[in-house]
């Protein structure tokens, strides 16, 4: 079965709309995925409380990453008014992260969860899911023809939407290069960029991505207010 061949479209808001396994999806400049027909917003790899995890080991990174990540997430929820919000795994940086959340950040998550269905897909960093925070914990979610899970399965998986790998696109310009978080898709499956403020990135040219795609994927790189589609041949490896 092949997906319809509608070309990708740039929307006035800077998003890109394209098809994954035949389903129309919207790639937001924020790094969120918007499934309009299902009124569902998806973000991956929030890594809440990554800063305090480092602080506990003696590296005093600014403790504002959770607040910043939630601020950007709230912006998306406010802009789109989804009925369902899916956090696609590694939402919490580690098993103790929930206990380290500042009260104000807990309140913010409570507010976010009001009036929508909040689903926590578990990831490798947060295998148990949250204990006290609102929402429901899931292993994976089927939204035909898509299947949403944290860690992509090896070999091509038509319809799979995953996170975990934190893809980044690097483009060489004249005399310098730019490296940005990106979506990665071959039209069959989609890997989301990390949404968390302190989440690092893995170059899409890294070999970790090669088993996932039947043909070279394109990158949808996050610009300031726009998503930029970048072909495989334009991408460069980190080194």
């Amino acid at each position: 079965m092949t997906a319809p061949t509608n070309p990708p479209v740039r929307l006035p808001c800077g998003s890109i709309r394209l098809r994954v396994n035949g389903e129309a999806v919207t790639l937001r400049p924020s790094g969120a995925l918007w499934l309009e027909q299902h009124q569902t917003l998806v973000v991956a790899d929030l890594h809440l409380e990554k800063g305090s995890a480092y602080a506990a080991r003696g590296q005093m990174l600014p403790p504002y990453d959770t607040a910043e990540t939630l601020r950007r997430l709230t912006q998306e929820v406010t802009a789109l008014g989804p009925g369902r919000l899916i956090l696609l795994g590694d939402s919490l940086h580690d098993g103790q992260a929930e206990a380290r959340l500042a009260p104000a950040d807990v309140d913010q998550i409570d507010r976010l969860a009001q009036g929508l269905e909040l689903l926590w897909v578990i990831g490798n960093h947060d295998a148990d899911g949250p204990r006290h925070l609102p929402g429901q914990t899931m292993d994976e979610i089927h939204i035909n023809p898509l299947i949403l899970r944290h860690e992509p399965l090896p070999a091509p998986q038509p319809g799979e939407v995953a996170g975990h790998l934190h893809p980044c696109a690097k483009v060489a310009g004249k005399g310098r290069s730019v490296r940005r978080r990106c979506f990665a898709t071959d039209g069959q499956r989609l890997i989301l960029p990390a949404f968390g403020a302190y989440a690092g990135g893995l170059n899409l040219r890294d070999s970790a991505f090669s088993p996932l795609f039947a043909k070279p994927p394109i990158a949808a790189a996050l610009g300031k207010d726009q998503v930029h589609l970048i072909g495989w041949n334009q991408l460069v490896a980190d080194r």
Partner: protein, 818 residues
Amino acid sequence: MERPAPSLPPTLPSPFLDWFASKGWAARDHQIAMVQRAKAGRHVLLIAPTGGGKTLAGFLPSLIDLSQTPASERPEGIHTLYISPLKALAVDVARNLMAPIEEMGLPIRVESRTGDTNLSKRQRQKANPPDILLTTPEQLALFCAWDGARAYFANLKTVIIDEVHALHGSKRGDLLCLGLARLQSFAPAMRRVGLSATVEDPDRLRRWIAPRPEVADLVLGTPGAPPRIEVLLSDQRVPWAGHSAQHAMAEVYETLKTARTALVFVNTRWQSEFAFQELWRLNEDNLPIALHHGALAPEQRRKVEAAMARGELRAVVCTSTLDLGIDWGAVDLVIQLAAPKGSSRLVQRIGRSNHRLDEPSRALLVPANRFEMLECQAALEAVAAGALDGDPPRTGALDVLAQHLMGACCGEALSSEALFAEARSAAPYEDMSQQDFDDVLSFVSNGGYALRTYDQFRRIVTGQDGLWRVRNPQTAQRHRLNVGAIVAGATLNIRVSSGRHGSARKIGEAEEWYFEQLTPGDTFLFGGEVWRFEGVSGMDARVTRSADKEPKIPSWGGTKFSMSTHLAERVRDMIMDRDHWQQLPGDVQDWLGAQAAHSAIPAADGLLVETFPRGGKHYLVCYPFEGRLAHTTLAMLLTRRLDRLGVAPLGFVCNDYVLCIWAMKPMDGLDLDGLFQQDMLGDDLEAWLDESVMLKRMFRHCALISGLIERRFAGAEKSGRQVTFSSDLIYDVLRKHQPDHLLLRCARADAAVGMLDIRRLGDFLQRIVGKVRGISLPKVSPFAVPVMMEIGREAIAGAAQEAILEAAAFDLISEALS
């Protein structure tokens, strides 16, 4: 000031007198003076030209003291600690010091300790300290963070700091000065001795070297004969633009042939590669000419230095890597290719030649373009007048203080009062406020965040006694891995691919950005040879030998130094003063005359602004003569303003003298006084800075130095790029949530001084108030030609990142998904 000379010449102990006599020497006045000041227990700064026996003068009091006390009666521990900015110098001084010690048969043990010293030797040095230890500022910082330091240095008598002029005005100097304060608390009677080349303001160094509020005594060496400097008046026309001095290379080569050994200084590594290649192209006599710059592999540099020391070379093309360092007696000529950018640097470089004080050093300045012709003439006159560049005032960096406080608390438990008093005894920090100190201490402890969520994770903690100490040994160990105030940019090793099997030979290293602009197959110049770039793997740029004579990628790039304020003034004055023109070569005089005829000669205290159309665009060219850094800042700010004024600026280019902006619409009718109003340093500057990549880079340096992010984890050094990435994320979050955080303040302060030259720009804008003169021209003026020839090498930075993404974005239709 210097104390009056003693009426009776004091004598040295007899072994020393005999030794001097055996060499056919007499102790010099400043050497005797150093012995006297030591007897009086004074801190002292010795300023003497190279070759004046400066190092021996520094060590002489220690040698005498040690020679007069039998080893068995001496207290345990280091007697004299010598600190040099260069590892190589520490090793070389050790060798030179051994000569008098061995020849006099003195029972003195001298050892060196640098980053290269192996572990077993370091451990032996700790267990069994030598009498004299020669080391670097970074090693001192490590000592300070060691819990045995107080006992180890308890009997330290003297600390000698070499090349103070090169250290004091930097973060490295800040860290060293704090380290000296630490040493002083270990050994309160310790004497500080500074050795320096000639500087514009000796009093500043006298304060820097002493524990404040004391001031070190000043001892002056005999000045050498005044140098003989000439500016090369080429038979060729001096080019309008460029930095290569290619036009004069044949004349440079002919001059080399007249010298025994010459040092050929250039301002950048790529210039050195170019000059080296050009000279070898001309080298029919097969003179041994070598190349020396910071990117070459250390073994290769050492080979060149050793060959130089043996007198086997006729010339070395070099960068600032040879500004300091080992004395080579044989050098009798210094050539400066392209303008020296400052009179102090020129004096320093000239001083590398002819270390016999009674003979003048000989130097040749080779201007690479017309403005440099003026600049070289100005530098020559400045040196003749003994006028050096003043250093801008400096206050100690707070990220450096953070590192130091952490280190101190790794060494021992200390009260915040003691730490504050000790830090204020270091000259760069003497005016530091209690508030700044408290902020730094809080940063070291819990990150200094308004949101105090990290109190449970403090890196340093107070005990029942109220003293600060490191939280645990692991934290101390991590700190020691991150010591130092030198932050290198991300560099790649350049390795020669040798077939399929590994063992690729390393020929040097270069900045990552350089390779980002290359694609495999490109050829470039390095180490005097043309290489083919094959690709990058891991930390290595792989290259193969190329048969090409000419590299495909030119190594352009002007100077990394900005012209000094002092020299800029001289150049401005020279242009104004028509009588002065006669000392310039004919084509430069013609050029000045043409400028006067077609436009105007820039006034010394005002600003000339020319506007003219060209090729469908409109240009604005002005002549501040304030150096490239200040010009770049000014251009960024002007561009923002011009954008608001609706003239649609497209780009700008700057050099040390001129800046040029081009736009879609004419700029003739603009209110120039308004355009150049001083308030641009307020909101416009803030707004621009917030978007600039540069501030992120500054932040990364501060984050590394202060210990917020780590240089390396036990063992493997993180690659520079990885650090850059994470520090950018931190920067973005911190800027949004705590814009007044200590490290953001540090980054802004560093940018203002190091990259933006804000002070200089501010002075300039104030000076030209009401004196901006606009001239609307039908076409480009003679003075504007050089800068116009540099167009195409820089672009507006603001939107550049997005533009790169836009350019790469593929045609949505042609490459649609299927």
